[in-house]
């Protein structure tokens, strides 16, 4: 783990403010290849902002973010983004495009794939996630769980190096949560590096290799999943877990 060569993402002293409110306070963090890191903590703790800062959806006020050792700047953000997949809480599928076009537009435009290649790949991913028959549907014709799986496939189509999940199940009805979590499990089996913000703490425990507890704009606890749940001495985390595990 200490090998620097396999660090995918690295944050150094990152600070982000919204007006007077500090959301990320001098935060540093390394994410290694094949790690599955889950961010948890009370809302407003900066979890989503952290993810959104990594691929430049939020501009940070100070600090540095490195991707594979390379400083992320305004100039290279576009090429960095093409290696980082992001899945949103509200899916953000392109409403006016079919599933086919949602999945193939970026590979064709950015990765310069042929249409046939892209469609073939899309089909195989859709099959993997159990929605192989949805190729010609429009987003509004899909259920929430199906939409989120399409969104996951859309990111996977870019052959990302790392995937970011911003509360991927929060907007879903309970019966659809499992299908999305199963899809993420499949990515875990493939060895995908992932950073996940989620409130599904049982799922987090099962799938993650490392857990972070964020509170008040700081990383309060950073531990292996096992230590996080069994050996923690942090009072605030204990409190948080006891509340969340009761549900």
């Amino acid at each position: 783990m200490s090998d620097n060569n396999n660090i995918v993402l690295s944050l150094k002293n990152v600070t982000k403010k919204f007006g007077d409110l500090t959301v990320l306070d001098n935060m540093s963090l390394d994410i290694h290849e094949h790690e599955i890191v889950v961010l948890c903590g009370p809302s407003g703790g900066g979890k989503s902002t952290l993810l959104r800062s990594i691929n430049g959806l939020e501009k940070i006020n100070s600090g540095e973010i490195y991707y594979r050792g390379e400083l992320v700047t305004n100039k290279n953000i576009k090429s960095v983004r093409s290696h980082i997949g992001m899945v949103f809480q509200s899916f953000n599928l392109f409403d006016n495009l079919t599933v086919r076009d949602n999945l193939t537009i970026a590979p064709i435009k950015i990765l310069k794939k042929t249409k046939a290649e892209a469609v073939e790949k899309a089909q195989s991913y859709l099959d993997t996630f159990g929605i192989g028959d949805k190729m010609d549907h429009y987003p509004h014709q899909l259920s929430g769980g199906q939409k989120q799986r399409v969104a996951i496939v859309r990111s996977m189509m870019m052959e990302p190096d790392v995937m970011l999940f911003d509360e991927p199940t929060s907007a879903l009805d309970p019966e659809m949560i499992k299908e999305v979590l199963d899809a993420i499990r499949r990515l875990a089996e493939m060895g995908m590096t992932m950073v996940i913000v989620t409130h599904e703490i049982g799922f987090a425990r099962e799938v993650s290799s490392r857990m972070l507890f964020l509170e008040n704009a700081k990383i309060r606890v950073d531990a292996s999943t096992e230590d996080f749940f069994t050996n923690t001495e942090d009072e605030r985390l204990k409190q948080f877990l006891s509340v969340i595990l009761k549900h």
Partner: protein
């Protein structure tokens, strides 16, 4: 009035000589207004600093000042150009402001998440704009655009007052020959009504068709 003179007034004067000019006025101004509206609307929708404020003032001016005044001013101030081109310029400038607001509203109505998703896929700005945002804008803007086009069609009648030989002006001239205003202007009203009403009716069908093309069938907003 004899049947022959009715025929001459309606077909020869209004339909054959005047209607083509009105149609050209409509087409020319609509193209001009759409150009102004599309470019300005994108600038306003993307909140480009300074430019969007300037365009905001422009829109307020067009909403506050009568078309009539603008046309008379252009007619008095411009030493070159036919009455047709002055009318097209004036109507384009004013209607362009309204179309600008429609496009701006449409862009602002597109969910921020669509832009963000495009960014995370590193789609180029223009691809995002033309493949994803503008089709969704059309969905919201199309009914308003059709309504605006009806206003534009009616607005072309004002061009008659600076001497543009469209329907209304032909009627004014014909009045010296056939003094029955109820018939002469009645015909003009009917022709305008048919154009506008047909557009409204076709527009409703078009909206349905476009929604289906953009969002797939059975889409409900």
């Amino acid at each position: 009035m004899s049947l022959a003179s009715h025929k001459m007034l309606f077909f020869d004067t209004l339909i054959k000589s005047a209607l083509p000019v009105t149609l050209q006025l409509i087409l020319g101004s609509f193209v001009g207004a759409c150009l102004i509206g599309l470019i300005g609307g994108i600038i306003r929708g993307m909140k480009v600093p300074v430019l969007s404020q300037i365009l905001g003032v422009y829109v307020q001016l067009c909403r506050g000042i009568p078309d009539m005044l603008v046309l008379l001013f252009l007619y008095a101030a411009m030493t070159k150009g036919s009455t047709y081109s002055i009318a097209v310029l004036g109507i384009s400038l004013i209607q362009g402001a309204y179309i600008m607001e429609i496009i701006k509203g449409g862009i602002l109505s597109v969910d921020k998440g669509q832009w963000e998703a495009a960014k995370t896929l590193s789609l180029p700005f223009l691809t995002t704009l033309f493949r994803i945002v503008i089709p969704q804008v059309m969905l919201v803007a199309l009914p308003a655009l059709i309504g605006q086009l009806v206003l534009l069609i009616k607005g072309t009648s004002v061009a008659s007052t600076i001497g543009c030989l469209e329907l209304t002006k032909r009627a004014v001239i014909a009045m010296s020959g056939y003094s029955n205003a109820l018939i002469v202007y009645g015909y003009v009203l009917v022709i305008f009504f048919i154009m506008c009403h047909a557009l409204t009716v076709v527009g409703k069908k078009l909206e349905k068709y476009v929604v289906e093309r953009i969002m797939g069938d059975k889409y409900e907003r």
